[in-house]
Symmetry: C2
Subunit: 192 residues, 2 copies
DNA sequence: CGTCGAATTGATGTCATTCAACTACAGTGG
DNA sequence: CCACTGTAGTTGAATGACATCAATTCGACG
């Protein structure tokens, strides 16, 4: 299970086997059954998760009890509520398992020690932060500019494999529409 | 004009007059007439702006030529496209003046040297980044959860003074609706 | 095989857009 | 100083996009 993460790291930065062993000591492996909740709203997020197999999701629940998915994290993705973790304030996210999932959890000390073990990881971490910000911005602009159909097409284009694995109602939630609307959009697209 | 920024800094961090003089040397004062463009799409953003008087805005323009305002920056606000600046890639923002505006511009070296001059500024900068991220996330969730009326009420509540200064069509653009829709929302709110 | 949630479909409703007309007012040049 | 012009804001009518509610089918899984 750590192997997946090791491969991920090797693809991102120059790293030796002894360094990997040091890092492994900072990662806790876990398994979550489908539907299992890893983080609840109002909890202070204390870890970042790296998915090695399966899929996690983060989402918020609004006053009308509707879920809005913030992010999916399939294999080789990170997921967390960094804002809550960094500010040590209660978060607004739930994180749970979309499928049976294997993942590693890394706590605060991981991010302190990682750059000591591998200096180049600082740049990797910065890049991850930037990409996360970029993704938020892209979605915000897409919600302002695009129709639901455009957003769906964009989703299946940028996450083609996810679109096949994830229940449609979750894709709808991610896109900000109802499952019924997504079903109709798909129907109309299939007729060209 | 630098006085405004000095006051701002003093409210955020412990800072001495000699330190302020060093910082002043890194800030260029400017004036923009209403409508003047400070940054265009596809340019690489090379500076961050701090508004001392007036108001700037950042916005994107979609394929249908519609403007979507990302941020307003009245007095004591920062505005920029950090993502473009940090990655040195062409940006997607326009930045222009909503009113006649006085502002300071700070380039890359400002952010390198500031923490050398005032170590505590590192924390301030981190906090600014977090707040910017938080604002994006809040807006994203609001677009997913709230009606246009809710978003408008939220806007005038969190930016009461802005709502009076800014043309309604720009508020509409920020909220993601047409000026006509905002006009009707305001009318219906005035009848309770 | 039966059950329960996911997905589809239809009918209808609501919210926001679009297009057009009109008013108000600010800025410009004569 | 006034007339002209353009932009902002309002309003109406028609349209469009998506939501809601209800009924049905589909499909996974115990």
């Amino acid at each position: 299970m750590f192997e997946v993460f090791a491969t991920y790291l090797k693809s991102k930065i120059e790293i030796s086997d002894p360094q990997l062993r040091e890092i492994e000591a900072l990662c806790k492996p876990h398994r979550a059954e489908k539907g299992e909740v890893l983080l609840k709203v109002n909890e202070i997020c204390k870890a970042v998760f790296f998915v090695t197999h399966g899929c996690l999701r983060s989402y918020v629940v609004d006053k009308k009890k509707r879920e809005h998915i913030i992010q999916f994290a399939p294999e080789n993705w990170w997921i967390s509520e960094r804002l809550s973790m960094m500010s040590k304030e209660p978060g607004m996210y739930f994180i749970d398992a979309v499928e049976d999932t294997d993942y590693l959890s890394m706590e605060e000390d991981f991010f302190q020690k990682l750059p000591e073990i591998v200096p180049a990881s600082k740049a990797m971490n910065d890049r991850l932060q930037l990409n996360s910000f970029r993704a938020f911005r892209k979605r915000l602009i897409s919600l302002l500019s695009d129709t639901a159909e455009d957003r769906y097409l964009n989703f299946i284009q940028t996450h083609p494999s996810l679109a096949l694995r994830i229940p449609q109602k979750m894709i709808a939630s991610y896109l900000g529409i109802t499952p019924e609307s997504l079903s109709r959009i798909r129907k109309s697209l299939s007729h060209q």
